[in-house]
C-alpha cells in the first residue's frame, strides 16, 4: 500500500519532559489508525506533530513524499490543506456563520470560487442533515452539531487524510453517537484517518490498526481483534482492564 505519512525518530520535548520518545511509524493510504493510551501518554502530541501544529524537537515527518519538517512555511501551509484536522474543542470560528466557516479556507486560498464553495458547503451540510443551519452561528448549534460542522469544514478542503484529536471528549454523552456515526461513514468511504480517542467501541469497529501509546512510545499495535482480544503488553492489559467495563 502507498505510504501517506511517515515519521522517523520523532522526539518532542516540553521543558524537561520528553513527550515523544523516538516514534518511527508509517501510515498507509486508506488506513484507519486509532491511537489510545492514558492521558499524558503523548498521543495528542503525536497527532499534532503530523501536521506540524506541534514542531517536533527532532526527527522527520514525511507526507505524500514531501519532507514536512524543514519545509518552508509556505510549503507547510500548502501541505496542510491536504490534512484535515478535527479538534476536541471544535474550534469553529464563532464570529462566522456555518456557511462562512466552511467556505473561508477554500475561497481565501483560491481553491474554489465563491459559488463553488457555497455549493460544496450545501452538499456537505446536506450529508449531515444540517443544511437548515447554514446561516446559523456556531453559538446556536449543539455540541454534536458543532463537531459535525467542524468535520465538514475540514472535508471541504478535500483532504487526503483526516486527523481527529479526541473528537468526542468534549461532548455530552447523548451527542457522541452522531459524531461517531459520521466518522464511521467517512471511514467506510475510504478516507484515511488517524484518530486519538477514548471510544473503544469505535476503535473496535472502525480501526484497521490500533496503537497503544504510553510515555511517548508506541508499546503495542495490532488489528483491533488482537489488540482487544489478546493484548500482550502488560501496560496495555492494565489500561484495557480500566477502560473496558
Amino acid at each position: 500500500m502507498e505510504n501517506l505519512i511517515q515519521t522517523k525518530q520523532l522526539y518532542k520535548q516540553f521543558g524537561d519532559v520528553m513527550v515523544l520518545n523516538g516514534i518511527s511509524e508509517t501510515i498507509a493510504k486508506g488506513e484507519k489508525v486509532v491511537v489510545v493510551g492514558p492521558s499524558g501518554s503523548g498521543k495528542s502530541t503525536f497527532l499534532r506533530c503530523l501536521n506540524l501544529l506541534e514542531m517536533p524537537t527532532s526527527g522527520e515527518i514525511w507526507f505524500e513524499g514531501n519532507l514536512l519538517t524543514g519545509a518552508s512555511e509556505h510549503q507547510v501551509d500548502k501541505l496542510r490543506t491536504k490534512m484535515g484536522m478535527v479538534f476536541q474543542q471544535f474550534n469553529l470560528f464563532p464570529h462566522m456563520t456555518v456557511r462562512k466557516n466552511i467556505t473561508l479556507a477554500p475561497t481565501k486560498l483560491g481553491l474554489m470560487t465563491d459559488q463553488e464553495a457555497d455549493a460544496k458547503a450545501e452538499e456537505l451540510l446536506t450529508r449531515i442533515s444540517l443544511l437548515d443551519k447554514i446561516d446559523a452561528y456556531p453559538s446556536q448549534l449543539s455540541g454534536g452539531q458543532k463537531q459535525r460542522v467542524a468535520i465538514v469544514r475540514a472535508l471541504a478542503m478535500s483532504p487526503d487524510v483526516m486527523l481527529f484529536d479526541e473528537p468526542t471528549s468534549a461532548l455530552d454523552p447523548e451527542m457522541v453517537g452522531e459524531v461517531l456515526d459520521f466518522m464511521h461513514t467517512l471511514a467506510d468511504e475510504g478516507m484515511t484517518m488517524v484518530v486519538v480517542t477514548h471510544e473503544m467501541g469505535f476503535a473496535k469497529e472502525v480501526a484497521t490498526r490500533c496503537m497503544f501509546m504510553d510515555e511517548g512510545r508506541i508499546l503495542e499495535q495490532s488489528p483491533p481483534a488482537d489488540f482487544f482480544g489478546n493484548p500482550r503488553n502488560a501496560r496495555l492489559q492494565d489500561f484495557l482492564s480500566k477502560v473496558l467495563y
Binding site: 500548502k78 496542510r80 484535515g84 474550534n91 464570529h95 452561528y137 478542503m157
Partner: protein, 232 residues
C-alpha cells in the same frame, strides 16, 4: 457672571461673526482627532501584531525590542511635551499652515502606544485553538490573523478602544500650544476679546460633551452589531 446672559451670548457668538471662529475651530479639532484615531489604530495594530508574533518567533526579538522602546517612551512622557517636540524639533522646518497635520501626527503616534496594548490584550484573549484551526486548514499566519483572530479581538476590545478614542478626542484641546486654532483655542481667543469667560467656555464644553456622547452612541451601535454572532 450671569448678568445679561443673552447679551453675553450675542457678544460671544454674533458680534464680528465670531461663531465662524467656533465652526473653524471645531472642524480643526475633528480633523486632528480623526486623523489621529486612524493613525493610532493602524500603528497600534501593527505594533500589537509584531509583539505577539515576536513571542512565538525568537528571530523577531529585535522587533519586539523596538516596539517595547516605543511604548515605553510614548507612555512615559506627557503628550504636551511630545506635541512640542514634534512641532518645534522634528518638524521645525514645516510651514505654519501644516501645524494641524503635525499635531494630528503627534497624537496618532501617541495614541498608537495605548492602542497597541489594547489590541495586544485583545489578541491574547482569543483561544489559541482559533489560530490552530485556521492554520490546520492551510491558511497562513497573516490570513488567520486577519480573518479569524483580529475580528474577534476587536469585538472584545471595543469598549476599551472607545475609551481611548474619547480620551484622544478631548486631549486634542491642547493643540493651542503649537499655535493651532482648534475649538478650545477659539474659545480662548474670544474670551480674551470679550473678557467674558462664562459663555465661550461653557459653550465649547457642551460641544465636546455632545460629540463624546455621539461617539459613545456610535460605539454602542457597533458593539450591538458585532454581538450578532453571540448566543441569543
Amino acid at each position: 457672571m450671569f448678568n445679561d446672559l443673552p447679551g453675553q451670548i450675542y457678544k460671544t457668538l454674533f458680534v464680528d461673526n465670531r461663531w465662524m471662529l467656533f465652526v473653524d475651530g471645531l472642524l480643526t479639532t475633528l480633523m486632528i482627532a480623526g486623523i489621529a484615531i486612524v493613525l493610532g489604530v493602524v500603528i497600534g495594530s501593527l505594533v500589537a501584531i509584531a509583539k505577539v508574533n515576536a513571542l512565538r518567533n525568537k528571530k523577531l526579538k529585535w522587533l519586539s525590542v523596538i516596539c517595547e522602546i516605543y511604548t515605553t517612551v510614548i507612555r512615559g512622557t506627557p503628550v504636551v511635551v511630545q506635541l512640542l517636540i514634534m512641532y518645534y524639533v522634528i518638524f521645525a522646518a514645516a510651514p505654519p499652515e501644516l501645524a494641524p497635520y503635525v499635531a494630528a501626527f503627534a497624537f496618532g503616534i501617541n495614541s498608537g502606544a495605548y492602542v497597541s496594548e489594547i489590541v495586544r490584550a485583545g489578541i491574547m484573549s482569543i483561544d489559541k485553538g482559533q489560530m490552530e484551526a485556521g492554520r490546520s486548514l492551510g491558511l497562513s499566519n497573516s490570513m488567520t490573523m486577519k480573518s479569524i483572530i483580529l475580528p474577534q479581538a476587536i469585538k472584545n476590545i471595543l469598549p476599551a478602544l472607545g475609551n481611548e478614542f474619547i480620551i484622544l478626542f478631548k486631549e486634542t484641546s491642547i493643540v493651542g500650544y503649537v499655535a493651532v486654532t482648534d475649538l478650545t483655542r477659539a474659545a480662548e481667543l474670544i474670551r480674551s476679546r470679550t473678557f467674558q469667560p462664562f459663555v465661550p467656555l461653557i459653550f465649547i464644553a457642551l460641544i465636546y460633551l455632545g460629540i463624546v456622547m455621539l461617539i459613545s452612541w456610535g460605539l454602542k451601535k457597533l458593539e450591538k452589531k458585532l454581538a450578532q454572532s453571540d448566543a441569543r
